[in-house]
Amino acid sequence: MAPDAVERIAIESDADVVTARQRARALAVTLDMPSTDQTLLATAISEIARNITTYAKRGEVCIELVRDANGRRGVKVVARDHGPGIADLERALTDGYTTGGGLGLGLPGARRLVDEFDIQTAPGEGTTVTLVKWTRG
């Protein structure tokens, strides 16, 4: 899998959250991803990147174009921070669970918006969320 393009965006402020989702959409456009799917991906990134600024203060989002074994193309997003981590991941992935006075929709919602969703976290060590949105057909 040739690394077509990898973009790394430092996430430190709310403006970086906007940049991350806009850069991902720009990459999705190069794959001719349907505009609805671009919107779903951009919305998921917004949630995940905001969780970085809210809970970990800073981190990064890396966006790359990927290709699966069948040649299908997609956009992969890795959001990484070294913040407090998530003690109860199962609850954090449940609609409505929040420790930050939010709606508790960010993680479970982002999971519904993309094709692949993975989260690695450990208290005191940080959190890494990986998302993939595939082009159709």
């Binding site: 959409r25 919107t39 949630e47 939010g102 960010g106 918006l113």
Partner: protein
């Protein structure tokens, strides 16, 4: 980028022009509240036509604006949610149940006028 707010008779029209940071959204909330108070407005339209993403923060903030202005006797109508944005909001799990929405500015104004016209 600040959101311009225009006064049109008893109503205010806030037209979002470009992607909003969280700071911009909070600024919009404060500006709307200040202007509703200053002008004793009866209704507010927030035009989100240009937003390509409405995530949980923006949605929650718009709901907050609607609730706060209602306590001041003013109804808020969100207009121009794009079809793809609406789809993403539903997938995300956002419900806009207690917030008035309309297709576009014209319909939003008609809604406000139907509710508050003649008063």
């Amino acid at each position: 980028m600040a959101v311009p707010i225009l006064k049109q008779g008893p109503f205010l029209i806030a037209s979002i022009q470009s992607a909003l940071t969280d700071t911009d959204v909070l600024q919009l909330r404060d500006d709307v509240m200040a202007q509703v108070t200053r002008h004793r407005s009866r209704g507010i339209i927030v035009d989100v036509t240009s937003l390509d993403v409405m995530d949980s923060f923006v949605s929650r903030s718009l709901q907050g604006i609607a609730r706060m202005t209602r306590l001041r006797g003013a109804e808020t109508v969100i207009v121009g949610i794009q079809p793809e944005v609406a789809f993403a909001m539903v997938q995300l799990g956002m419900s806009f149940e207690d917030v008035q929405t309309a297709l576009d500015l014209e319909e939003g104004l008609a809604l406000l006028e139907a509710g508050f016209g003649g008063t």
